[in-house]
Amino acid sequence: MSANDQNQSQPHGGERGTGAAAAPQAEASGAGASERAPRHGRRRRGRTEQKPQQAPRRAESALNMDELRELTELFTAHGLTDFEFENADIRVRLSRNPAPAASGAQAVSAQALTPHDAVQSAASAAATSAGAEGAARAVGATTAAESTEEELHIITSPIVGTFYRSPAPTADAFVKVGSRVEHDTVVCIIEAMKLMNEVLAETTGTVAKVYVENGQPVEYGQPLFGVKK
């Protein structure tokens, strides 16, 4: 339950214990963002408004795969939530998505806004290679017009501990999918060293996703619930 080396749901796997969220370090070099050495430290803020996630599509690319991969790594390493890059041929926009329910991983969506509607497979190939490196679990590339999923407010864990959906093993869950929450609604408890941490929704809306199972260990900043406004 709380022996947290069992935790498989983190995208980088490197954080443990007190959740040392490594400070990002940009290394200066001559040629702009895509040349910077990526670092895999991760800094997740408590709560961020999330952008829609789209299904992977292909996009015209004047950006090569390595560049796109580096961009996504930088984006992840620096804990950014939005990034835009533009030159004569291409405009790239990265924005952080809510974690998919199955993996709890972070997702990054790359939108290539091209002057042509033609699409190529470069971006999805980049997605595969970036995913393989573990820098970003999901990289989707799409045209700007498509946006299907509604925005979810993600409630994240304030500490490392064990996640409980109810106050006692036999009690009802604080909230379920479909539950209406207000700012002061208790959504769960995270236990660490017999300190029971009440977690409040701190938003209003309806619970749309529950990312963690009862009794499972959670990391600092890990998504717990998705709330639809």
């Binding site: 022996a3 660490a192 017999k194």
Partner: protein, 253 residues
């Protein structure tokens, strides 16, 4: 920045739970240091809403409101500091030495003498933690099911403890341990103190019961946030932050 804690005591004859009353006060915005005690609790509780048996004048039922100025990740250390304080107080007021079972139960003669439960709450003055401490003074009213696992100050020392004296020692010790936790290097120092006071810190064979799994291993000290490191074999270390830890026979025995 130094932290001074000045305990103020609110006394009740009977309460459902001192933690619940302290939490109510915390939410309304009382300053830290407010202590709630009751001669009996009608709905005393422990971890996961387990009942804490609290008959009249058979125990010290105590809760304190704290507003730690610590990183959220260090807040669990408050419960370890509270265990150290309760241990200090029993030593000072009752001349009783206790062991600390991870994370914060006090044992005497291998049986439970004191339990601690802490809960956080959002309040009008920011996040607060209520630390509840229950100390068995005598075991006259123990139900049969806990007789073999629980003990009391009276049973261990052979005389009825002076409750007021113990309360005074406890509030002083809590203030001291809490202030020490906030001092420069206080988090690491608290972990070291805990490790030096507890036989569970190192080389103790334990069984750890989690919600969906039980495993055994040998303890290997604490993480910086107070989590227990347990080596389960072949050098594999598991880090425990919740669950029940039970002692098996000592390594080498």
């Amino acid at each position: 920045m130094s932290t001074r804690l000045t305990p103020t005591i609110l006394r009740f004859d009977s309460l459902p739970s001192t933690n619940t009353e302290a939490a109510r006060q915390a939410v309304l915005g009382v300053p830290e240091g407010l202590c709630v005690i009751a001669r009996e609790q009608t709905a005393g509780r422990g971890r996961q809403q387990r009942a804490w048996v609290s008959p009249k004048d058979a125990g010290l039922y105590f809760s304190i409101v704290l507003r730690p100025r610590l990183d959220a990740r260090a807040w669990p250390l408050v419960t370890l500091a509270a265990a150290l304080a309760a241990s200090d107080a029993l030593r000072e007021a009752c001349a009783l030495e206790t062991d600390i079972k991870w994370p914060n139960d006090l044992l005497s003669g291998g049986r439970k003498l004191c339990g601690i439960l802490a809960e956080t709450f959002e309040t009008v003055r920011g996040r607060a933690v209520v630390v509840g401490i229950g100390i068995n003074l005598n075991n006259r009213a123990f139900p049969p099911e806990i007789l073999s696992t629980a003990t009391s100050v009276e049973e261990r020392t052979g005389r009825a403890p002076e409750g007021e004296c113990l309360l005074a020692s406890l509030t002083r010790a809590l203030a001291r341990r809490y202030e020490a936790l906030h001092a420069e290097g206080g988090e690491a120092a608290t972990v070291r103190e805990w490790e030096s006071r507890s036989s569970f810190a190192r080389n103790r064979r334990v069984r750890v019961a989690l919600a969906d799994e039980t495993f055994e291993g040998a303890t290997r000290g604490l993480e910086p946030d107070g989590a227990l490191r347990v080596e389960t074999g072949a050098g594999r270390i598991r880090v425990v932050r919740a669950g029940d830890v039970m002692a098996l026979r000592r390594v080498g025995e």
